[in-house]
């Protein structure tokens, strides 16, 4: 590869020529200056070749100088900081950066996969839909090959060491784009006192106007645009109500003017103790889109060769970074703007061997200015071929109105600057429903001001100004952005002549060499093929050819593609329409989207007041909802099964204690609270006496059991509802849903006080003795009977004591303010020493309740089970006119006696039946599936009974006591006998003592 140093001797408004930095590209050291992008520095070091295309692996250089770049993608950084698919044109060069080319093997210069390019005649759009269908050849052979060769950059393999931050902002006006239009709009709204944010995606203010003025000498209020921008920034910086941000990309506009923006904080200082990026969720009164416009390439043979660039990009590289893609640049254009590129190139001492203007008689002031400098201007001429493969070596000249087969001349050159006109950057406008209108004169889609995206008030939430509104000329641009627009001097321009294919009569051979989507290798011929085959909707053509589906999302290709589709279908461009603009404008990192919520704080870990003590005891944890709860407390080298057995027996034989703080606790209060609870619960709660507790069931509207728990009436108008640990938030929301949407006029208030109380269950025959040792409250059978509660200074604590049991033993649950939880726990441990009190975990809790035949929400229920299935008919009030689920229970299938119902199950040999086992029934159903007749819902080893016990739902189970049925699990069969689900103390003698 020829390496020519093309950094110009002077100029470069964005680089600090006094300072040198170095980065690596494919192992080579590349000199650069602060302010360079990777692309500008690589060009400056003579590296035009910067990437390979996706499908045919064609050699590619940058075609653009900004966010629209499809070709020049690299992988930055190594190991854990490796980031693939970065555009060199928007990646800031920094000292020590390591960049590697991608999608090539073995190297960028020699890429063996470029064989695909040779085979491209056999690989047109959609070829893969038409072959690879024999046998399993797709999954076994062809797909693996395609998968390996597809993709662009390498896949990261390590966790990201960097941190990310998220922030919120609210503003009256958010202005997207820091060019002259955006700054003018900022002045307009800032001076009026509005809270204004201005977001600029690059590190620099000023946009196109400052570059273009280098060519055409335009002035704003008599100042060069650069000076005007400086003055505007000075004024804006002095306004306290205006916030200016560079390196901040407005990525997406969502409903109600919710703008997502990504700020680069420390991308160029890896390892710095800063968040790498900051994701902003911004809410605006109005979003002003001043995002400028994107230049369109022209479709001519060989337009993808490294060195063929947008005319504006060539201009940018010369003016901003003092680099040039070549020393001799041929310009191909259909408009006057490209002549600005000629002017800055000439000023920089670069030769312009010819300007090929697709128009017949270009004669505007800019054209004249170039002509005056002796440049050869060839109206009506075009390019028949670009010579050279990894670098432009010249072009073959032809007439635009021709088949492109007659070469008039070879013009040696090392770069081609092309301009097919401009398209307003309407992405944000369109993200949330703003509509576009085709401007025939200017040949672009511009925002239709009559069909803006609407905010919550039904009014426009976005507005486009400047080039983004289609006001390409500097005077119109500023006039659109501010009411008292400054005086602008800028040369007149002649109209563009829309040209979508050149040479105009090119045959299929040449159309197959005209690239539309550079990255995805979609050519003019592919779009025409799609049209021919009936993929005529713009979305079909896109999806069939992959046009616009590359990482630039069609910024360069979409308008050209749909114009060619329109031509192929012989319909006007507006009839074809555009594909949908989707967020984000350019890709944004997953790390920033996730923000701080990673690792330990991915989701909040809820800990009880006694959490540290459990940890010290070596508890094995189990996540339950967002809480963690001790599953069991194994001793050193003790298996979990042994620990669970020990904990169960402690409760059965003496006393155990459980941290029950995670149980949901919802206060329901108000004059209508009783009436409300009567609707929420299947039981009657309004008649519960103050001081009493009742076990309650909640059903969904469809009648399915959704939660259970003990309800205590605290006072005349206050109830405390216990829920399951995992259900607390959902049940609270469920209550509020009904209160706010259906019974909004009922006087009821709810509060989720789960975290306000620590709660300890003390269970076992010696439970009362432990409480009595603490003293202060009479907890005798008479004073505190089963299913009642009392409050008092138990052991000096501010305690509420519930006499309830989920184990079948004598049980109390003691609630104290969370701040006293650990102290209470310690006192109970101390007081229980005499009775060898043991903490027990969730698994012992499960075993205890299963021995007793109590159901567990989530085990015996799964959203398809109704209380009747579980033998809980007693909890369904018959006195109430209505409750949630009552009507559903009358549906025929619900009321049918012919359902799967709860039973106990025990294996014949005493072993534990595998949980989740299913019992087949004879025969098959109409779909050839085995019939079934039941399933295991819970299965444990019972330390108390010294054998396996299980609960399950069995077809007509309660009527089949003693019957033996076979269960299948993991391919094995187990015979089980149907028994009562209450394995322990069926008469309840242990409970009420």
């Amino acid at each position: 590869m020829t390496r020519r140093i093309t950094r110009l001797d002077r100029g470069g408004r964005l680089i600090d020529r006094a300072r040198d930095i170095t980065f690596c590209f494919d192992g080579r050291r590349i000199p650069a200056h602060p302010g360079d992008t990777l692309a500008s520095a690589l060009l400056g070091a003579g590296h035009v070749l910067q990437g390979r295309s996706f499908k045919y692996h064609r050699p590619r250089g940058p075609v653009a100088a900004g966010a629209e770049e499809p070709n020049a993608l690299v992988t930055l950084g190594g190991r854990a900081r490796m980031e693939p698919d970065l555009r060199t044109t928007t990646t800031e060069a920094f000292d020590g950066a390591e960049a590697r080319s991608q999608n090539r093997w073995p190297g960028l210069g020699l890429d063996l996969l470029a064989i695909n390019d040779r085979l491209s005649a056999f690989m047109p759009a959609g070829f893969y839909y038409k072959t690879f269908m024999a046998g399993r050849s797709w999954e076994k052979l062809f797909e693996p090959i395609i998968r390996r060769s597809a993709g662009l950059g390498p896949a990261p393999t390590e966790a990201d060491p960097d941190s990310y931050e998220q922030a919120y902002a609210f503003a009256d006006v958010i202005i997207v784009g820091g060019g002259v239009a955006g700054l003018a709009a900022a002045l307009e709204h800032g001076r009026a006192g509005a809270r204004v944010w201005v977001l600029e995606q690059t590190p620099h203010w000023g946009g196109r106007a400052v570059v273009d003025a280098e060519a055409d000498g335009a002035t704003i209020d008599g100042l060069a645009p650069e000076a005007w921008v400086k003055a505007a920034l000075a004024e804006l910086e002095a306004l306290p109500n205006v916030t200016l941000r560079t390196r901040m990309l407005a990525a997406g506009l969502h409903d109600h003017a919710h703008l997502i923006a990504l700020e680069s904080v420390a991308d160029t200082t890896p390892g710095a103790d800063l968040p790498r990026q900051r994701l902003w969720r911004m809410r605006a009164g109005k979003v002003i889109v001043a995002a400028g416009a994107l230049e369109r390439p022209l479709s001519f043979p060989g337009n993808d060769r490294p060195g063929v660039m947008l005319a504006s990009a060539v201009r940018d590289y010369i003016v901003n970074w003092a680099v040039s893609p070549g020393k001799r640049i041929v310009i191909l254009t259909n408009n006057d703007d490209a002549y600005r590129t000629a002017l800055v190139a000439l000023d920089a001492g670069i030769a312009i061997p010819a300007i090929l203007d697709l128009r017949k008689t270009p004669n505007g002031p800019l054209v004249q200015a170039v002509r005056d400098r002796g440049v050869r201007i060839l109206p009506g001429h075009s390019i028949a071929k670009v010579l050279g493969s990894k670098q432009v070596k010249g072009i073959a000249l032809c007439r635009h109105e021709s088949r492109g087969e007659a070469w008039l001349e070879r013009i040696p050159c090392d770069a081609v600057a092309m301009s097919g006109g401009w398209s307003p950057t309407v992405h944000l406008w369109s993200h949330c429903g703003g509509k576009l209108a085709w401007d025939t004169e200017a040949a672009f889609f511009a925002p239709d001001p009559d069909k803006p995206p609407l905010g919550a008030d039904g009014k426009a939430m976005a507005q486009c100004v400047g080039a983004a509104a289609g006001a390409l000329r500097l005077d119109a641009c500023l006039a659109s952005a501010m009411s008292a627009a400054p005086q602008v001097e800028t040369p007149a321009e002649e109209p563009i002549q829309p040209v979508w294919v050149t040479p105009a009569e090119a045959g299929p051979h040449l159309r197959a060499k005209m690239w539309l989507d550079f990255q995805n290798d979609v050519k003019v011929s592919d779009i025409q093929l799609a049209a021919r085959e009936g993929y005529q909707s713009v979305e079909h053509a896109k999806r069939y050819t992959t046009l616009g589906m590359a990482t630039d999302q069609g910024k360069l290709s979409n308008i050209n593609g749909l114009a060619i589709l329109s031509q192929a279908l012989d319909q006007p461009i507006p009839a074809t329409g555009t594909t949908t603009f989707r967020p984000p404008y350019t890709p944004i990192g997953f790390g920033a989207i996730a923000g701080e919520a990673r690792g330990e704080i991915f989701q909040p870990l809820r800990r009880t007041a006694m959490d540290a003590w459990h940890e010290d005891q070596g508890a094995h944890w189990e996540p339950v909802g967002q809480w963690r709860r001790p599953y069991c407390y194994p001793g050193k080298a003790e298996p979990h099964s042994a620990a669970i057995e020990r904990e169960v027996l402690a409760v059965r034989n003496s006393v155990g204690m459980l941290d029950a703080s995670t149980l949901g606790k919802i206060i329901v209060k108000g004059p209508d609270a009783g009436r409300f609870l009567d609707m929420i619960y299947t039981n009657m709660m309004s008649t519960l006496a103050v001081g009493k507790c009742r076990y309650g069931l909640m059903c969904s509207e469809n009648g399915f059991l959704m939660d259970d728990g003990v309800v205590a009436r605290l006072s005349e108008d206050t109830w405390l509802c216990h829920t399951t640990t995992g259900g607390a938030e959902a049940i609270h929301a469920h209550m509020e849903d009904w209160l706010q949407c259906e019974w909004w006029d009922w006087k009821v208030w709810t509060a989720n006080v789960t975290e306000a109380y620590a709660q300890v269950a003390v269970a076992g025959p010696n439970a009362r003795k432990v409480l009595e040792a603490l003293g202060g409250v009479d907890v005798s059978r008479e004073a505190l009977p089963h299913m009642s509660w009392t409050a008092g200074p138990l052991g000096g604590f501010d305690a509420r004591i519930y006499r309830i049991s989920f184990s079948g033993e004598l049980g109390f649950e003691i609630a104290v303010p969370t701040s006293q939880g650990m102290a209470l726990w310690s006192r109970l441990l101390e007081a229980g020493k005499a009775f060898d009190i043991r903490p027990y975990g969730t698994e012992a809790l499960h075993v205890l309740r299963a021995e007793k035949g109590f159901i567990m929400i989530g085990d015996e229920t799964d959203g398809t089970v109704i209380p009747q299935d579980l033998g809980l008919n007693w909890a369904l009030s018959k006195k109430k006119a209505d409750f949630l689920g009552k009507r559903a229970h009358q549906r025929s299938f619900m009321a049918s006696p012919d359902r799967w119902k709860l039973v106990g199950l025990e294996s014949l040999d005493g072993s534990v039946i595998p949980e989740c086992a299913i019992a087949p029934a004879p025969g098959e159903n109409a779909n050839r599936q085995r019939n079934t007749q039941g399933r295991i819902t819970s299965s444990y080893y019972s330390p108390t009974l010294k054998r396996g016990i299980a609960m399950g739902l069995v077809h007509n189970g309660p009527d089949r006591m003693g019957e033996e049925i076979i269960f299948n699990a993991d391919g094995k069969e187990v015979t089980a006998r149907i028994v009562s689900p209450v394995f322990y103390d069926p008469k309840g003698e242990k409970l009420d003592v």
Partner: protein
């Protein structure tokens, strides 16, 4: 229909591919058809295809208000699986999955069915039990799934973090013949197959009214004129309630947007499809190299097909937690599709209160994987006027009878 093959490509390569014929024509509507299918998405086209193929009914029009395959068929995350818990669900999804196995050859259109394995991660004890139950159920249903431990999960997905500080991976439900297919190709392949049988696919043809006489459907009014029919099949997913209203009945369906997104393409990173329901996100990698990511539904009823923000954050967090190396990849594109959710999150394939109008809807967040089975069962329903065994349990009457088919039981969410 001229057949596609490697030879056809070679032949066309010699003449710059100028000789390919249309995949489906653009006919003028006839005044009357035996059957009109409203909705040229995957389900509608498959319904028409199997009406022709299985029942010889070819005087059929599939009418579409936009472009065919433009609804959820072109917006989903392309996952195919049949590891459902309830018998009726697993029957129809397995029918679909098994048809996908041979679909490319059947249609002579490569839909790129790629059974590269599908995992549903269990990250709580509750999920472990749910998936073990599913494995046992699948065994009796004749569906090959199995429970695998954490190490086997790691072998299949080397980048997974088994020991997430919040939700460790305890194992997974694996369906080895689950995977993905190319979603657009499914619609295009069926459309081409329908056209080859002489059926009419009428795009840009919106139904504005449905008329009936004596309780029997008679004709539809469309933006391309009035078209008569003997039978009408409504297969329009997100807009089912809208279409039902035109026919004069109501549906127990709510429509909302389901969110999805893709990353930029990268070299192979994950070979299988992984669904993580506790943290709520699912992930696969397309043949093009993009990570295809699905999230949740917006929590409000609407018809906007836009990408919203809140779920993107939740989903990406969940996936970075599970697959830490994806943190430095970037979101390329996000979008939404309107899913039609029933009360039990299972579909409706049913007769309706209007004679000879049949409805197929309610696939919610899981429709793509069902397309062939859904079309097969719907064709049977339309042709015979009564559901066959695959559709029998999915009738509208189940909501009245309380005979729900609830899949959220095992999966936590239904996808």
């Amino acid at each position: 229909m001229r057949r596609y093959s490697v030879f056809a490509i070679a032949r066309e390569a010699m003449r710059y591919h100028e000789g390919w014929e249309r995949a489906w024509p653009a006919p003028t509507p006839k005044p009357r058809y035996d059957v009109i299918v409203v909705g040229a998405g995957g389900h509608g086209l498959a319904t028409a295809y199997y009406l022709g193929k299985n029942f010889g009914i070819t005087n059929v029009a599939v009418i579409e208000k936009g472009w065919l395959g433009g609804g959820n068929t072109g917006r989903n995350t392309t996952i195919i699986r049949s590891n459902y818990l309830q018998d009726p669900s697993s029957a129809i999804y397995e029918k679909a999955r098994s048809l996908y196995e041979g679909l490319s050859r059947d249609l002579n259109y490569n839909v790129m069915f790629s059974p590269r394995g599908l995992l549903m991660l269990a990250q709580t004890e509750h999920e472990v039990r749910g998936y073990k139950r599913t494995v046992n159920a699948n065994d009796l249903q004749g569906i090959e799934t199995r429970w695998i431990g954490p190490q086997e999960v790691k072998d299949l997905v080397p980048m997974i973090n088994l020991h997430g500080p919040r939700y460790p991976v305890l194992g997974a439900l694996l369906q080895e013949r689950g995977g993905t297919a190319r979603h657009d190709a499914v619609a295009w392949g069926y459309a081409r197959g329908c056209a080859a049988m002489g059926m009419h696919i009428l795009q840009n043809c919106e139904v504005t009214a449905i008329r009936s006489e004596n309780g029997q459907v008679s004709e539809v009014e469309t933006t391309r004129g009035t078209i008569g029919c003997k039978k009408l099949a409504i297969v329009v997913a997100g807009h089912s309630s809208v279409m039902a209203e035109k026919a004069g009945f109501r549906l127990p369906v709510e429509s909302m947007a389901l969110q999805a997104l893709v990353s930029e393409p990268i070299k192979p990173m994950i070979d299988v499809v992984v669904m993580a329901n506790t943290v709520h996100g699912y992930l696969s990698q397309s043949d093009k190299g993009e990570l295809v990511i699905g999230g949740g539904t917006d929590g409000f009823v609407n018809y906007s097909q836009r990408g919203s923000w809140q779920h993107v954050e939740e989903t990406i967090r969940a996936l970075i937690e599970t697959f830490p190396p994806i943190s430095r990849l970037r979101m390329l594109r996000q979008w939404g599709g309107i899913v039609d959710m029933t009360g039990d999150r299972s579909p409706i394939l049913s007769k309706t209160p209007v004679g000879n109008i049949f409805i197929n809807c309610g696939w919610g967040t899981g429709g793509f994987k069902a397309i062939p089975g859904s079309g097969w069962a719907m064709a049977e329903l339309v042709a015979n006027g009564e559901p066959g065994p695959l559709a029998a349990d999915f009738g509208l009457e189940r909501f009245r009878e309380g005979r729900f088919i609830d899949e959220s039981v095992a999966a936590g969410v239904a996808h």
